[in-house]
Amino acid sequence: MSRVAGAGGAETGGGRTAAARDVDATIGMTILLGAWVMLFAALFLAYGVVRVQANEWPPFGAPRLPRGVPALNTLLLIASSLLLRRGLARARGGGASSVATAAAAAALLGAGFLGAQLAVWRVMLARGLFPSSGVYGSVFFALTGFHALHVLGGVVAISVLAVQAARARRRGRAPLRALRLTALYWDFVAIVWVAMYLAVYWL
């Protein structure tokens, strides 16, 4: 015998409210990001394993990684994340028109991050550190490269949504749910980067 309440948002009519679908989407995105946390955790584990087995780190003769530019880059990504959050918070308060501007700015900062990261890679290649030059180069290029792919995905998604939001300004229906989900993803990318920056550039 069951007297337990039904699951969230399910109604006998079958139609579901927008609010219920917002909750669905947030739960789904959270699970997806949980999975992605495991992916990056496994990469960090791999780094840890080769690191504890190394005789010295960085290996003798390997060029040192810069710390200044990546630090700036970290700030860039955090700023981008906060900007998107602020735009969304305003949209909730009724200022839906500014969300397009916020998203465009966030995408621009993300693109800036990619440009700076590209410059760091080029400098390291010029100094003689390659993906194929031992585990040190492997860790540096694989981890930052794989993360950069995620930044690229985020920049593309946010740009598309910014354009959609700008177009919606006239018709009045911004893609808010998609932006909220992307903001979650974008926070995740920034948090992973902070951990990666500390682990790869400082430890």
Partner: protein
């Protein structure tokens, strides 16, 4: 690449509608052939797509197994009939390199491209919304993406057969140094890593969808403990999928980088230079790989726990205990992977811990097993094909599970590791138990999926001609493994001490050929029933779960009205119901008389 998937998924779910929700798109059937049959968002159509894809690859993987068994029975003899077609340059003889590719692809296809799409893709998709009283998955478009990611993955894997230097040859586990660019040069193995990556992406998307659907779309009145055990199986599997497939994905990313960009994660260094660690790959692989065993068996457990109750006409014995046992297995499964690595020079203390945890996992497994026995104990058994296959699982799971205890023990494992004993053990679970559950599920849900019944007598014939040779094959493998024959040997007769085993190997092979041939009965039954089978009533098995309260096949929107759940899933044989209604079952949305 991964970044785009994530972002795509995010954009996908909500592209367009921000706040107002236009009439649920899942309620209107789409028009047009492409939208309806190819790029469909209907969970029932996607389930069928997964089913056909999985069955197709099951046939391919099965045929590869026949080739392997041929070589072991008649080392160096040309394969009859199609041998010249496949291996023309060697006159039909399977070469050592070809043999290596064979067992690599057999394992890969069966695990990732047959069992995964059939059990999780097809049944998961078909059952979850129907059994919990929902109109569709919560994210229909993500569901579509999940299937097409799987399809892309199969295309890449198939392509790897046809590239220079041939198919991957590093075994289904792809251990470095075998799988590095030095061990297996050529594009084939690289394509393999990409294929597994997209396969994993498909699994993760499916898992996100399944978990959220069960949390959000259960019909009113259906608490977690009113869900059919089938749904529990899929739900727990999805949780493991979401947590551990990404770890495999990380391994694939690093392996891909090692092969393509020359990174050295899995390439051992010298004492002076330092370097990567081949064993690291094994950690990443088995961190995923052991949960994977349960990812595949949990849906089978769920389905069988339900079917035994339905066809014994009794409520499932110890429903809650079964659920908690499955949950215990899920938790423990993530802590035992080290038992695959006892011989890698692992610290003995770590080894002992893994041994202990592995042995502990048999406690919930045995509880589950005895609950099954309790369910059928003095039941009014209906030995339909689904029930026979379910009972077959109970039998093979018992042998397969018991042999696992030998391998969990470090001392025994040091001897048995990498022998055919291991092969026999995991085939009894993966190939026997899981496959039997798949057949049980197909016979059971076929009427609901396609609106026609499968042929019963043919199904029973198929069952007996499957279960008997199947046990000969896999128990035979236990024997030759115990006698010391290593797995993956091209020609065991090259070793003096394995020569006496040739006759036994032949016997196993002949049983395997019989097993392979018996599957043709299933093929005939499946397609014949699809076209000509007897029209199915809404509830041919007379059970009470929600999918049987709607027509066969269900309409596009599944339920005209979302049902209100009032009963558990196994309301069978209740005297009050029999007295009042003259039947021995009560649907989940009916009031107790």
């Amino acid at each position: 690449m991964p970044a785009d998937e994530t972002a795509g998924g995010a954009g996908d779910e909500a592209s367009g509608d921000g706040d107002a929700d236009p009439a649920d798109e899942s309620q209107q059937a789409p028009r047009g052939w492409w939208r309806r049959y190819v790029f469909s968002t209907d969970h029932k159509t996607i389930a069928k797509q997964f089913l056909f894809l999985g069955l197709g690859f099951l046939a391919v993987g099965g045929f590869l197994a026949m080739l392997i068994r041929w070589q072991l029975a008649n080392p160096g003899a040309p394969f009859p009939l199609v041998g010249k077609l496949l291996y023309g340059s060697s006159g039909g003889v399977i070469s050592p390199a070809a043999y290596t590719a064979l067992f690599t692809m057999h394992g890969t296809i069966m695990i990732f491209f047959a069992i995964t799409p059939i059990l999780i893709g097809a049944f998961g998709n078909f059952c979850i919304p129907l059994l919990i009283g929902a109109r569709d998955m919560v994210f229909p478009r993500l569901n579509l993406l999940s299937f097409w990611s799987m399809f892309l993955s199969t295309a890449i894997l198939t392509a790897s057969f046809f590239v220079p230097l041939g198919a991957p040859q590093a075994g289904w586990t792809a251990y470095p140094t075998l799988s590095t660019a030095i061990g297996t040069p050529g594009l084939g193995q690289t394509l393999w890593t990409v294929a597994i990556y997209f396969n994993g992406a498909s699994s993760i998307m499916g898992a996100v969808n399944y978990i959220t659907t069960v949390i959000r779309l259960r019909a009113p009145g259906m608490g977690y403990f009113q869900m059919p055990l089938t749904v529990w199986g899929f739900w727990l599997t999805s949780i493991l999928n979401a947590l551990f497939v990404p770890v495999l994905a990380a391994g694939m990313v690093l392996l891909f980088f090692d092969r393509v960009f020359g990174t050295q994660f899995f390439i051992a260094g010298t004492a002076i230079r330092g370097g990567g660690d081949p064993i690291l790959y094994q950690h990443l692989f088995w961190l995923f790989g052991h949960p994977e065993v349960y990812i595949l068996i949990l849906p089978a457990w769920g389905i069988v726990s339900d079917l035994l109750s339905f066809f014994a006409r009794k409520p499932a014995f110890g429903y809650r205990v079964t659920v908690w046992s499955m949950i215990a297995v899920v938790v423990l499964s993530s802590l035992v992977y080290g038992h695959h690595m006892f011989v890698t020079g692992m610290s003995p203390m770590l080894g002992e811990s893994f041994m202990l945890l592995t042995m502990i996992i048999s406690v919930p497994a045995v509880v589950l097993f005895f609950n099954w026995l309790g369910t059928i104990w003095r039941g009014a058994m209906r030995t339909t094909p689904p029930m026979l296959f379910a009972l077959g699982l109970v039998f093979t799971f018992a042998i397969g599970g018991l042999t696992g205890l030998f391998l969990a023990d470090i001392e025994a494992d040091v001897y048995l590791h990498d022998t055919y004993f291991v092969v026999g053990h995991f085939h009894l679970i993966m190939a026997a138990a899981v496959l039997l559950a798949a057949f049980a599920g197909i016979h059971y849900w076929f009427p609901k999926m396609f609106g026609r019944m499968m042929n019963g007598p043919l199904g029973k014939l198929h069952f007996w001609l499957t279960i008997l040779p199947l046990n000969v094959v896999f128990c035979g493998q236990l024997l030759i493994g115990y006698a010391g024959m290593q797995r993956r040997l091209y020609d065991p007769s090259a070793y003096e001490f394995l020569r006496p085993l040739l006759e036994l190997n032949r016997g196993i092979s002949h049983a395997a050929f019989l097993l392979g041939a018996a599957q043709l009965i299933f093929v005939v039954n499946f397609f014949w029933s699809l076209a000509r089978g007897r029209k199915a009533e809404p509830n041919p098995w007379q059970v009470g779960t929600l999918e049987w309260t709607v027509p066969s096949p269900p309409p596009h929107h599944n339920f005209d009205r979302i049902p209100i759940v009032r009963q558990g899933p196994h309301e069978l044989g209740n005297p009050r119901v029999i007295e009042a209604l003259g039947r021995d079952w009560l649907a989940q949305d009916e009031e107790m008389p």
